[in-house]
Subunit: 339 residues, 2 copies
């Protein structure tokens, strides 16, 4: 059983190489009958179509789009928001007959795959900042989601305004406010931000959201006391619970919790209920993202819905769209029983 290339197959079938190529790539260039016959014969031979590497070299595109996650696969994929986004991406790519290549934001070797893909969709700023440099210089198409890269198209929501809206929905005069923030500083555990240096003011969605919260509080004549701004390193239950517990034990106890993800919001509500607090009478909670689980929980969580699956689809369309417009997606404030 020798090499099985387009040329060798053409010879054994006794047709021209162009015909084999056309049978796979341009059905209109030959009769249906001949095409069927060829495809059938190839299948029996075990020839599954033109070599993709050669095809990619010749055509200049491979039909593979890399999605770069901001964090490790572990983390991203266990987060319902990220995983919804990925579903949207993969659905829309499929629609265009494109393939998805998942790439960890911790990886270092973008160059290793760069030549095999048609471009990159980056979901959140990669944890490994070296990647950002590589993306900046890449000659391939790059689309960013939830952060910006100079000169590259992006897809986002207005995090500042959304956070503002959500805060305005819960804040009352005289409230004591606590913010349970996501990745505000570069620290491993849940902890008050205090005066530690902020992570990356510019492009971080966490800071845009914080800005929105601050603006809302200002408008309500409130201020955020120093120790009431908490950093949570990852959107998972353990970290969130830890922070929620600590914040609920503070004196005076907050009457409002502004949470930068629904996972955090849910954990906070659980802790509050466990302490015997009533929601929303004793304490109000607002989340961010919009995940299904908040609808099944009681009380339901007031939150900003950003429809991550549609965001994934939009990202692919923007990626494919040749004009480099940055896309601002709509969000929706949905009131639940928690406010």
């Amino acid at each position: 059983m020798s090499k099985l290339t387009l040329k060798s197959v053409a010879k054994t079938l006794g047709v021209s190489t162009a015909t084999i190529s056309n049978a796979f790539n341009r059905p209109d260039q030959l009769s249906v009958a001949l095409r069927q016959k060829i495809l059938q014969a190839c299948h029996e031979l075990g020839y599954f179509g033109p070599n993709k590497a050669a095809q990619s070299l010749r055509k200049g595109s491979s039909g593979i789009v890399a999605v770069i996650l901001s964090d490790s696969l572990e983390y991203m994929v266990s987060d319902p928001v990220a995983s919804q986004f990925l579903q949207g991406v993969s659905r829309e790519l499929e629609r265009h007959q494109l393939h998805l290549l998942l790439f960890s934001g911790q990886a270092t070797n973008l160059e290793a795959i760069s030549d095999f893909v048609d471009g990159f969709i980056c979901y959140g700023a990669p944890r490994n900042t070296g990647l950002i440099e590589q993306l900046r210089h890449s000659r391939k198409r790059v689309l960013t989601v939830d952060f910006d890269l100079a000169g590259r198209p992006s897809v986002n929501i207005d995090n500042e305004q959304a956070a503002f809206d959500s805060a305005m929905a819960v804040l009352r005069p005289k409230d004591t406010v606590a913010v349970l923030g996501l990745r505000l500083i570069d620290a491993a555990g849940s902890q008050p931000v205090g005066d530690k240096p902020m992570w990356d003011n510019q492009s971080s969605i966490a800071h845009r959201r914080l800005d929105g919260y601050q603006r809302a509080m200002q408008q309500c004549g409130l201020t955020l006391a120093a120790d009431y701004l908490w950093h949570i390193p990852e959107s998972n239950q353990n970290y969130a619970r830890e922070a929620a517990r600590a914040v609920l034990a503070m004196s005076p106890r907050p009457t409002v919790l502004l949470c930068m993800s629904d996972l955090i919001g849910l954990s906070a509500m659980r802790e509050a209920l466990q302490l015997g607090l009533r929601i929303p009478q004793d304490i109000r909670v607002v989340g961010f993202d919009g995940i299904e689980e908040t609808l099944r929980y009681h009380p339901t969580l007031t939150s900003v819905w950003q429809f991550s699956d549609q965001k994934g689809e939009a990202a692919v369309r923007a990626f494919l769209n040749p004009d480099d417009t940055t896309l601002q997606l709509p969000y929706e404030l949905r009131l639940g029983e928690s406010s």
Copy 2:
């Protein structure tokens, strides 16, 4: 800024294409000084090295190895055993200057990437059986782990013997035994296996382990009552807890739980303790895999340690090793406080 190919770069630097190529690929072929100068110049030009797709076409290998997970990325990556395995794989690949491409066992389009990789390491039988067919016919190197594919090299442990050993370590005369098994049938929730058709007797590690348990019980003059064999669809806490609870509520209550993963074993112990049972006085528990968490838990869990990270490294070495030997890795029975 034009195309930036090896040829164009060679021309602008005024050297031969071979020299550029050698500068990147075969340092011994030119002086250190010249090489440095060239690399430096390339960096300034923004040329990051030869195009990988062309290189792959020419050399016939890309330096990328695909790891095919048996299941979705979500599941695999949240399982400590799988993630240890992946760590081992990625460490060993790095050592050989190779790159890792993660591929979901649910995907359908192996052909899409097949031409870009040097081969496949399959960790567990892919959930999507269509992939198995494709792997069978692939002209690339294929190595299987924890299952077998006719004519392909594989890496495994002796699951039957290991299960036997672990069972023999806990069984006593007159025991009432329950088995908390992993993916024994094709069903979504935790449930007794009953007379439902078994999943895939041949290659499934779950069934090899069950065989080992059965042999041990036979040797101890015990039998496994019909409803005491449980199916758990995924090795996660929720499913495991559900099964453990049900089994512990049966009458007579089991005095031994044979668990097909440590995650299941831990959940089972938690449930037992919560019911006020004493371990090992009232009930003995044995796990499988060997994960760190069992050492931090009290009581520590008797289990089969299979050193998944080393298994990952071994898999890569076997993949790279040209002779198609199937490798049987050692395991270690470690007694804990649970038996």
